[in-house]
């Protein structure tokens, strides 16, 4: 099962990426660039669809082969993207909301820029815990 999560800043740079796949069976270096390509391409659709709804969670926006992209747009237009090979609306919604909270906490750090990568190990760990919980 493939699960890839990324936070993309409003300048389109990925500021956090995590491969949340269950115990990497696949060779990672083969697919990482494909995941990035899909997520990057889906930004076009996310930017379009986010105006259609009042919710931050805009569900599945894009699909490539068997991979779905679900998205969540924060008020600051930071986009949380989840690449999954299964549709799990409820789980991804919960996941997005919790990660959003975590992200806001990270942003409270005055040394964390909006467009700079999040390197905090605890953030990474918590995101992984959330993924285990909801996805």
């Amino acid at each position: 099962m493939t699960t890839y999560f990324a936070i993309v800043s409003r300048e389109d740079s990925p500021i956090y990426e995590a491969d949340l796949s269950v115990a990497g069976k696949k060779d990672k270096e083969e697919t990482s660039h494909l995941h990035q390509f899909i997520l990057h391409a889906s930004l076009d659709i996310v930017d379009e669809r986010m105006w259609d709804t009042n919710n931050m969670h805009i569900k599945v926006v894009d699909k490539f082969n068997e991979l779905f992209v679900a998205a969540y747009v924060t008020a600051g237009r930071t986009r949380l993207l989840l690449l999954c090979d299964t549709r799990n609306e409820d789980g991804s919604k919960q996941f997005f909301q919790e990660v959003h909270e975590l992200y806001l906490k990270v942003l409270l750090n005055p040394f964390q820029g909006v467009n700079t990568p999040i390197m905090t190990p605890s953030f990474d760990q918590r995101v992984r815990n959330l993924a285990r919980k909801y996805l």
């Binding site: 300048e11 389109d12 740079s13 990925p14 500021i15 270096e29 990482s32 660039h33 995941h35 990035q36 390509f37 899909i38 990057h40 391409a41 889906s42 930004l43 076009d44 659709i45 379009e48 990568p117």
Partner: protein, 1256 residues
């Protein structure tokens, strides 16, 4: 394309086919023009301004304004084999690559450039698409391409044209479709009599034949055409007619197939010059009217009739209540399944003969479509679709659906329905293409092409409506099951659809372009792959999508190197190296290998294999290096990383360092140490000296002396890399043009191997050889002996600093003023221990050597360490270290003899004058001046003794500065130099000794000295060797004597029993033990006791069992074993220890008085009174007992110490207040005898008594 244009285009594709069957002779006539007969007619097939009324099934006639027919040779009316067709299509793509390479398609495009792209980015796709559609014609499941009419061509020279005409249409000459019974063989036949004007048969004769022919074959279906009427010779300047046939000719292989069928072998010989060379304008008009007349007068009416009659037939059999009921009950006449079972059955669901009702229906519908009666066509297609579906003839069903979709588009029907039609066509075709299920292999490429075609139509229709986003989906769907090349083309088209949609979906465009690039790559269309990738670089780069950038750069690097552009490839690969630290080691190794391989190829480019003479080889190597440099400027190489922040420059100006540890000591410490010896520096420029400050600040260094620059190289990869030829790049400002830099600077090269993730500090060295200004500009290296790299140092001052600002510390400055050679001293301390015991005295040898050529003079030493003492004269070097301190070990040295040290001096900090140091003013002498005559010649050495005594336990830092001046006049800015030496010694605890005086009960002149010893070291054994009592400040000398009888001192708990004196005062002091020694201390009587010398009285302590105390034996041996308390070094050290002791006491007192509250200040003796008191100063000499044997002397009375090898000895200073202060009131009765008058004595003693009492 807007919808009308697209409709036009579709009409141009779906046109009725006219088959041509010429005789061999007729074809030969045409071949005079280099054309077949069919080709000759082709330019006239596009008919305009017809205005022909057409009436099919409907009530009303409609008018055709333009029409087009396809004229083909019978042999070419068949579908090409899949492989042949694919080969043709691949060639179109490859040719596009060749053509477009020059036009700069494959340039990286900025985002703005992409968004505003005006011209068609893929001009070759239009051609590819029409070729692709062309390759799919003459399929058996469609009737669009079934020949409608047949032109039979016979030359006028034929003896019996009528017979020939009738014979001509035989099975041998009809296309495969008819032969196999798929197409209707009952064609419209039209007879053409071809007359060659250049032949010897006259036109009249031909006309006669024609009349005869008309009468036999019918007037309407015959025509006479005369061609080749050009009379004038070839090459006439007149015909400058544009080539009408250009693109319309058949491909060579088709033409060859046709001609060989006719029995004409070598078409090349028949070809004469330009196409249509023998045709005059009149001929062209004739040909044009032939086509026009044939189409309007013969073919269109025929088609009309055909439609009407077929429609009637269908109406009879399929329409009406009766027929509908029939089909409702599923009554179907059995299918004429004549084709083989298996693949055909799966794909086509059976074989339908031309006369089957389904085929008839299809022919009807397609004819209606060709005649543009789309309503009629649509109704029949619908009917047909149901039939095929019931038959499960999926291919035919798909064909019908596709035609239905097209018809709906042509009639502007419901868009949704049209979409569904194409969709089901696609699905049905796909089902045929993949018999094992959609998406499963094997895929029948021939069938997959049809599904692609349907999706292409759908996509084109969407695009014509401006619905670019909807147009992408069909293309994507088609690409899944297509061959890589077609998939790539389709994906590229879909990418451009995204780019054209509103709003522009740039990121989608990028993704699809990359997918297309991948497909191109896999089918070896390298140029297209590169084009696709470079187009999207601008979309992705510098956004931080690491894996994406890496993928693009690696793919590009590889592809570009494959097409031979190594320099371009390097550009991409080098970007890869700088940004792949997140990847696993194996991948990084791959990248590195690829990069190095390309660099290697680049440097070997143009180098022919085999042997070469040296000159040519050198030239080739230089050319290779130039190519490498042009491809990749050395500054751009990211490996290894150079940390510019951690540069450290090591050089000697007037300062130099003896060891790396000396460098670590701060500059403040050194300036303190140097202060007494160096001249007062001129004040530097201040802020008021305006423009002077703008002068560049440089370091000063000496020609011939080495400069070292520490550079940190860091390997961010997880792969080991080899870096060789690491060197500094520098410029010498005095250098004239053409002179090699090696005359000015000598640069050393280093090599290093960096482990994964390692960062290593590398000392790079260079040696300036001539005076001038030297600038160190960069560090250069060669990565893995292939790729040269370079990193420039920051030359300009940091931001915000003005030029000449002193913000840059000297160890960061890279500009040097090189001055002429100067002497330089290197020094080392020989025999310096790394560990000492507290109080230990040690002698080292200071070895000064002048490593440069010029001589030096005026040597001074300066130190701030109290434990360091410079010897007076070289003679002190005699003897082993502890022994040389013993009495008599040193002979007298006349003070004026060779190079003895002058009296210590100290510089007055305020006046700068050198004044003799008074022992009271400074705690110790800090400056030693060598006599003025001391000159150290070039490359000479000087050895000098240095005494070291460790202070308190802990770390002892010794800082020593050697000052010297060059001999003779010194032109440069450096007038003197200093050498800074520093050492650190670990000092371990040794012995603590405390002395206590108490009155002796037996003798009033004597005191009892109680020395309390404690060994502080946990493991080392010490032996107490000697106890000396120094002459007091009142010049009184106390005599020491071992205690002769046991005293009745009370023992404190835990103490050992006092050692009996004499026999037992030889003291091995075991580790961590306590011990006590008792002595008598007697006042006065100069020289009365043994061991008394000028400054002190000493007592040699013998180990237990020797049976005698040192004091009793005044023989020479015992005296020699004594440590000389008059030795100047000992005296100095003791003086320092005493000063230290007093300072400690004063400090303690000060802190006590600060903590104590004034009200309860002790009513003890005041400060002055205390100073008054006499103090007994005692010195304890111990030595380190390595083990039992070395320390214990034999009973024979040998000297205990000097025999033991490198013995180590320490001196302890202790003092005790004299008994004068501590004693209670006491009476001294003196008299000749006890019987004398005592009162007189009492009186006489009264003042003394008073005096003593006051001291209480």
């Amino acid at each position: 394309m807007r919808p009308p244009e697209l409709k036009n285009w579709l009409r141009g594709i779906y046109t009725p086919v006219v088959q041509v069957i010429p005789t061999t002779d007729a074809e030969a006539i045409c071949l005079k023009n280099g054309l077949t007969f069919a080709e000759t007619l082709r330019p006239f097939c596009n008919l305009r301004n017809l205005n022909v009324p057409i009436r099919t099934a409907g009530e009303h006639a409609y008018r055709l304004q333009d029409f087009k027919i396809r004229i083909l040779n019978a042999k070419n009316i068949e579908q090409h084999a899949v492989e042949v067709a694919e080969e043709q299509l691949t060639q179109i793509v490859s040719q596009a690559a060749e053509v477009a390479t020059d036009e700069g398609w494959s340039k990286e495009k900025q985002i703005g450039e992409l968004l505003n792209m005006r011209r068609d980015p893929t001009p070759w796709f239009t051609k590819y698409q029409s070729e692709f559609l062309n390759a799919l014609t003459f399929s058996d499941h469609e009737a669009f391409d079934h020949p409608v009419a047949c032109l039979l061509v016979v030359p006028s020279t034929d003896p019996d044209p009528v017979k020939t005409f009738l014979d001509l249409y035989s099975t041998h000459n009809v296309p495969t479709l008819i032969r196999e019974g798929i197409a209707d063989p009952q064609l419209l036949k039209h007879y053409v009599l071809l007359h060659d004007m250049q032949s010897d048969v006259t036109l009249e004769r031909a006309e006669q034949v024609f009349i005869e022919m008309k009468s036999t074959l019918g007037a309407g279906s015959c025509q006479l055409v005369a061609i080749n009427s050009r009379k004038e010779p070839e090459g006439d300047s007149e015909h400058v007619r544009p080539d009408l046939w250009g693109d319309l000719c058949d491909p060579a292989w088709q033409r060859a197939a046709h001609l060989s069928h006719l029995g004409i072998d070598s078409p090349e010989e028949l070809r004469m010059g330009k196409n249509g060379a023998q045709l005059t304008e009149d001929d062209l008009v004739t040909l044009d009217s032939l086509v026009k007349d044939f189409t309007i007068k013969v073919m269109l009416p025929y088609m009309e009739n055909r439609v009407v009659s077929l429609n009637q037939q269908v109406t009879d059999t399929r329409k009406g209540l009766k027929n509908q009921l029939k089909s409702f009950w599923g009554y179907r006449k059995e299918k004429p399944k004549s084709g083989p079972e298996g693949q055909d059955a799966l794909a086509g669901g059976g074989h339908y003969a031309y006369n089957s009702p389904e085929s008839q229906l299809r022919i009807l519908a397609d004819l209606a479509f060709l005649l543009r009666d789309y309503e009629l066509a649509l109704s029949h297609y619908r009917l047909l679709a149901a039939d095929y579906k019931a038959d499960k003839a999926w291919k035919r069903f798909a064909g019908v659906q596709e035609a239905m979709g097209l018809t709906l588009f042509m009639t502007d029907g419901a868009r949704r329905e049209m979409e569904i039609c194409f969709d089901s066509a696609f699905q049905s075709y796909s089902r045929c293409a993949s018999p094992n299920g959609v998406g499963q292999s094997p895929v029948d490429m021939g069938m997959a092409r049809y599904s692609t075609r349907s999706m292409l139509f759908l996509s084109s229709i969407f695009r014509s409506h401006g619905m670019f986003r909807d147009a992408t989906l069909p293309l994507m769907r088609a690409s899944y099951q297509e061959s890589p090349l077609r998939a790539a083309l389709l994906l590229e088209q879909s990418a451009y659809c995204y780019l054209h949609s509103q709003p522009q979906l740039l990121r989608k465009f990028g993704f699809h372009m990359v997918l297309a690039g991948q497909r191109y790559n896999s089918c070896h269309q390298r140029w297209h792959a590169i084009r696709a990738y470079t187009t999207v670089l601008g979309v992705y780069c510098s956004k931080g999508w690491a894996y994406i950038e890496e993928h693009l750069h690696f793919a590009l690097g590889r592809q570009v190197s494959f097409i031979g552009d190594l320099a371009g490839s390097v550009q991409y690969l080098v970007k890869l190296l700088g940004a792949c630290s997140h990847q696993p080691a194996a991948l990084q190794a791959t990248y590195l290998r690829e990069f190095l391989y390309v660099m290697q190829c680049l440097s070997e480019q143009g180098r022919p294999g085999g042997d070469m003479d040296p000159a040519a080889a050198a030239a080739a190597a230089a050319a290779g290096a130039a190519a490498v440099a042009a491809a990749l400027p050395a500054e751009d190489l990211p490996l290894p990383e150079v940390n510019l922040e951690r540069i450290h420059v090591h050089f000697h100006d007037h300062r130099s360092y003896a060891s790396p540890s000396a460098v670590q000591v701060g500059e403040e410490v050194w300036s303190q140490v140097e202060a007494p010896v160096v001249p007062v520096a001129q004040a530097g420029p201040t802020w008021m000296d305006g423009n002077k400050a703008t002068k560049e600040v440089t370091n000063t260094c000496v020609a011939g002396e080495e400069i070292g620059v520490d550079v940190e190289l860091c390997n961010r990869l997880q792969v080991q890399i080899e870096v060789s030829q690491v060197r500094l790049l520098c410029a010498h400002e005095g250098r004239a043009e053409g002179e090699p830099i090696s005359d000015y600077v000598e640069v050393q090269e280093e090599a290093i191997s960096l482990k994964p993730g390692e960062s290593s500090l590398l000392r790079l060295r260079l040696r300036p050889l001539r005076e001038g200004v030297l600038r160190i500009q960069a560090v250069q290296w060669v990565l893995c002996s292939v790729a040269p790299g370079c990193k420039r140092f920051r030359q300009d001052p940091p931001e915000g600093a003005r030029p000449g600002d002193r913000a840059t510390p000297p160890h960061k400055r890279l500009v040097f003023t090189v001055v002429p050679p100067l002497p330089r001293v290197e020094a080392k301390l020989e025999g310096l221990p790394s560990v000492m015991f507290e109080g230990e005295i040690h002698r080292c040898i200071l070895e000064l050597s002048n490593v440069a050529r010029p001589a030096l003079q005026n040597i001074k030493l300066s130190t701030t360490s109290p434990g360091l003492l410079c010897g007076h004269c070289p003679q002190e070097l005699k003897g082993a270290p502890p022994g040389c301190l013993e009495v008599g070990a040193q002979e007298e040295v006349p003070p004026e003899s060779c190079g003895s040290l002058e009296r210590a001096v100290v510089r007055d900090p305020y006046t700068g004058e050198i004044v003799p140091a008074a022992p009271t003013s400074v705690p110790f002498d800090s400056v030693f001046v060598f006599p003025p005559g001391t000159v150290l010649e070039g490359e000479a050495q000087l050895r000098w003794p240095v005494w070291i005594r460790s202070g308190a336990a802990g770390l002892l830092a010794l800082n020593l500065v050697v000052y010297y001046e060059p001999q003779g006049a010194c032109p440069g800015p450096i007038k003197y130099r200093v050498l800074r030496m520093g050492a650190q010694i670990q000092v371990n605890p040794s012995v603590r000794a405390e002395a206590q005086l108490s009155p002796c009960r037996g003798d009033l002149q004597r005191h009892l000295l109680n020395v309390h010893l404690q060994s502080l070291h946990p493991s080392q054994q010490f032996r107490v060797r000697q106890l000396s009592c120094l002459r007091s400040t009142r010049q009184e000398l106390w005599q020491l004597a071992p205690l002769s009888s046991p005293d009745t001192l009370e023992l404190a708990p835990g103490e050992q029993k006092p050692t009996p004196p004499g026999g037992a005062c030889g003291v091995p002091l075991t580790p961590s033990s306590q011990s006590r020694l008792l002595f008598h201390l007697t006042k006065g009587r100069e020289g009365a006791a043994a061991g008394a010398s000028g400054a002190a009285s000493s007592l040699h302590l013998e180990p237990a069992g020797s049976g005698r105390g040192g004091a009793e034996d005044a023989d020479e041996e015992a005296a020699a074993a004594m440590v000389d308390m008059d030795h100047w070094a000992v005296v100095q050290f003791l003086r320092r220890a005493k000063a230290q002791h007093l300072a400690d006491q004063a400090a303690k007192q000060r802190s006590n008085s600060l903590t104590r509250r004034p009200s309860i200040q002790a009513a003890g003796p005041s400060q002055e009174e205390r100073a008054d008191r006499e103090q007994v100063e005692l010195v304890l000499v111990w030595e380190v007992g390595a083990d039992g044997s070395a320390g214990v002397a034999s009973p024979g009375g040998e000297r205990a110490l000097s025999v033991a090898g490198p013995a180590r000895m320490g001196v302890h200073f202790m003092h005790s207040n004299s008994l004068n202060a501590e004693a209670p009131l006491r009476c001294v009765l003196e008299g000749p005898s006890p019987h004398r008058c005592a009162a007189a004595c009492w009186e006489a003693r009264a003042p003394t008594l008073r005096l003593r009492a006051r001291g209480l």
